[in-house]
Amino acid sequence: MINSHLPVLQVLLPLIAAPLCVILRQSVLSWLFATLICFLSFIISCVLFNQVLESGVISYALGGWLSPWGIEYRLDKLTAFMLLIINGVAAIVLLGARESIADEISSDRLYLFYTAFLLNLTGVLGVIMTGDAFNLFVFIEIASLSSYAMISIGNDRRCLYAAFKYLIFGTIGASFILISVGLLYAVTGTLNMVDIFQRLPDVENTKTLTTALVFFVVGIGIKAAIFPLHLWLPDAYSYSPSIVSTFLAGTTTKVFVYVLIRFIYSVFGYETVFVQEAMSHVLMILACAGILYGSYLAIQQDSLKRLLAYSSVAQLGYMLLGISLATEAGLAAGLIHVFNHAIIKVALFLSVIIIIFYTKTDSISKLAGLAKTMPLLMLSFLIGGLSLIGVPLTAGFVSKWFLIKASFENGYWGLVVVIVFSSVLAIIYIWKFIEVAYFKEPDKVVIAIDGNQKTPYLLLFSLFVFVIANVYFGLDSSLNVDMANAIAQDFYLDFVVQ
């Protein structure tokens, strides 16, 4: 009985829990409660993952109203895969969150953070689950509004500016998506994605459809921080409370990459996007520009959080690159990187959080000799960094391997050059910190490690989970690679061959 309602529970659970956090008020209690909810949600996603693998696509009619009248939640392999990533990251990050945010958010606002966190999770999960284009917009707004709140909740006053910037950009992006959905509704008369997809061939080659596609791509470009629409991201990541940056880096942008894939393959259709509108080349150029630009700017940064933020812009370029190849192998490579980048970036952000926790700074120039005082932590950062660069036996290598392979197979030599060149840039920006931390004698003034700080055991635990994941998925990548291949295969079987 309850199994058949799991799809709606996945979204409802955090939604109902969010206001309860306000009622709880007390910070430790609300943290415990929110973490519990996140883990429950993770378990649900695991069950759903299994169900999808066993029985194929699950369609859930919300409130019993069948589509196209009601809202449909639709779970295919891609959905299940994304749910797993998002819930996994959310649960483990939140587990370690309490020890870090106490420093960065004043204690009377802590419960609000957990509320916003749960609402954000609701929005993100809703975006992934829904099969209704307008409902998707609603969930995007839930996710966005709560993330503005999460960013601005910190003590650092610059976060207000960052949140405002994100608000302006994000709202424009969401409006563009809404306009696109509106146009689609105008030409097809339905909001259900499956229906839209089926009716689009009738309106092929119309200006309205082209306009809808352009609005959609620009809107999602802003939301996913695709170069050159990424301008909100560096500020939002570097000024918000660290745990928020971690969560955003691991989940939010990935979700918009998901929306892009979903709309390309399940709404507009491969034919429209890649054949008629030649979107492939546009995306490819943006991806390459983003990769090079992000890596280049990451080298310039002194603040670790900002460095990782620019690196995220570059890494999003990799995912986009995979998608823009418009082949099965390319899509699979993009999806593999969605997964791998989530664990890489979260591992790196978590180590930076712990550095900030002890030293109260994330400025590279002030962290000379850090490896002597915090060897284990620096080792974690090193492993995460190597994974980001794409050294063999780490998760990052698997992504690179499939991306380069997919590019080779299509004869895109230039892309191979871009990928390997940006890996070299990644070496430079990661090594910048490694060298300072490992091989430079500490300045006397700086590393004032706060000896009175309690060891953040849970935070360390969260970090190690992700670091080990980086190594594990470098050694045995069958889970994510097989899944990504299966997803890509499904899309190309269903839609391209038709």
Binding site: P392, L393, F408, V416, V424, E435, K440, L475
Partner: protein, 488 residues
């Protein structure tokens, strides 16, 4: 013990040495004993494997498959066996030398030194035993990363800058060229396993084969083919034992070893000589040999001269491979061996001079032979081996290479070898002459004795080995004959 266990053990012994060095870092005598015992154990394991290989077996071990069709897989073929023998044997001698050198110069961070050194050895063994390109690549990168702390050992601004060049050149060439080449090979051939007769197909055409070959040759920056050679002189800031074992033996030899292995087991010499009309690799190697020799002739700093001499000698191996005759490839394998023993002796001698006198330039060495007869005697023997004079190992390899060059009538290769022999003589003989026959500049008389005994012992042993390898070349010859069988 089964062969799988032996392979695993060969990889693990240096790692265990690492752990033991870390555990006993307070008790330095015990720490050094651990290193020595581990290296003896490694020699024992490798020689057990050697026996099997000489019988014609090819022991294998497959660990995990981390990507579909890509596994960490070891298989010991004759060339890899030869390389593993060199690395494990010289690790022992080098450890003896390190003890004398590190203590004699009162270096800091000695435990760190021994730890990364052992990791580098483990990576070298991994490279030697690798059965496919991806395994090779993994250990190749591990070797780069583990030697970086050794290059920057001094921690000075100079050392850091050199470390950046070192890491920058080696990592970027491997990621920009080597990795794409591997992936491309995997797409073209469907596998990356080293196979007798190669895995690439004739009908790929000259263009593809040439581009792929260039990607490999320049991607393997450790082979120091010009213009990818800059990291090697930069790495000379490291303590001498590091220069000796890593930048005369393990790291650079890993480079040329990989190239030989790829030419033999990925392309196959038969395919290359069929498909390629203009053998560009031959000319690139030839130019590197001559240019590097000229630079060596002109540099006054002893270690820098040795470094450029290494660059030129590495290209000998590439040249010999590029001749593509089976006999010259045997010569290439022998040259890896001969040069290893010769060059390590030269570096040992340079370090010995530095330990006693703190002198680093060639022009300060007048008359030093009287004060340090053992050191300079070994230096002289090794120099003769570099030039290729009998009775030293260098003669043996040059003989094979020249024979191959005559066989295919490559006049370019022959003239390069002759010219470089003259140049080698030109930059080594004056040092020996000055050391033994010139009078020290007045006011600069040598009042020193020989270096500490571990140093003298080590360099005497390696000098003896260069002569022994000429007199009793039985085992290496058997190995290269097996290699030649694999080629044809």
């Amino acid at each position: 013990m089964s062969e799988q266990h032996l392979i695993l053990l060969a990889l693990c012994i240096p790692v265990i040495a690492t752990a033991l060095s870390a555990i006993f870092q307070k008790n330095i005598n015990l720490r050094e004993v651990c290193t020595l015992v581990s290296s003896v154990c490694l020699i024992f394991v490798v020689s057990t494997l050697l026996e099997k290989v000489l019988k014609g077996e090819q022991p294998q071990l497959q660990l995990m498959e981390f990507l579909p069709g890509l596994a960490i897989h070891f298989k010991i073929e004759p060339l890899g066996m030869l390389f593993a023998c060199i690395a494990s044997f010289l690790w022992l001698i080098n450890s003896i030398y390190s003890i004398g050198y590190m203590r004699g110069n009162k270096e800091k961070h000695q435990t760190r030194f021994y730890i990364y050194f052992a990791i580098a050895i483990a990576s070298t063994i991994g490279i030697a035993f690798s059965a496919n390109l991806i395994t090779l690549f993994i250990f190749y990168e591990a070797l780069t990363l583990s030697t970086y702390p050794l290059v920057t050992h001094k921690g000075s601004e100079d050392a850091m800058r050199a470390g950046r060049i070192y890491l920058g050149v080696l990592l970027s060439t491997s990621i920009c060229f080597f990795l794409p080449a591997i992936i491309w090979t995997n797409i073209l051939a469907g596998t990356t396993e080293f196979t007798n007769g190669g895995i690439l197909n004739n009908d790929l055409g000259q263009g593809v084969i040439l581009v792929l070959l260039m990607l490999f040759v320049y991607g393997i920056g450790k082979a120091a083919l010009m213009p990818m050679h800059r990291w090697l002189p930069a790495a000379m800031v490291a303590p001498t034992p590091v220069s000796a074992l890593l930048h005369a033996v393990a790291v650079v030899k890993a480079g040329v070893f990989s190239i030989v292995k790829i030419v033999v087991y990925i392309f196959s010499p038969v395919l290359l000589s069929d498909v390629i009309e203009f053998n560009i690799l031959l000319y690139l190697a030839g130019i590197t040999i001559i240019v590097a020799s000229i630079v060596a002739l002109r540099s006054d700093n002893l270690k820098r001269r040795l470094a450029y001499s290494t660059i030129s000698q590495l290209s000998y191996v590439i040249l010999a491979t590029a001749i593509l005759a089976p006999i010259s490839i045997m010569g290439a394998a022998l040259h890896i061996l001969a040069h290893a023993f010769g060059k390590i002796t030269l570096f040992f001698a340079a370090g010995s001079i530095y330990t006693v006198t703190k002198k680093t330039t060639v022009s300060e060495l007048d008359g030093i032979g009287k004060a340090m007869p053992w050191t300079m005697g070994a230096f002289a023997i090794a120099s003769l081996s570099m030039i290729g004079v009998p009775p030293t190992a260098g003669f043996l390899s040059k003989w094979y290479i020249l024979q191959g060059a005559f066989e295919v009538e490559s006049w370019f290769a022959i003239s390069v070898i002759v010219m470089s022999t003259l140049l080698n003589a030109g930059y080594f003989l004056p040092i020996i002459y000055a050391a033994f026959f010139k009078k020290p500049v007045s006011g600069n008389e040598f009042t020193y004795q020989e270096a500490p005994w571990p140093i003298v012992l080590a360099l005497t042993l390696t000098a003896l080995m260069t002569i022994l390898l000429f007199l009793l070349p039985d085992i290496p010859l058997q190995l290269v004959n097996l290699l030649a069988e694999n080629i044809s």
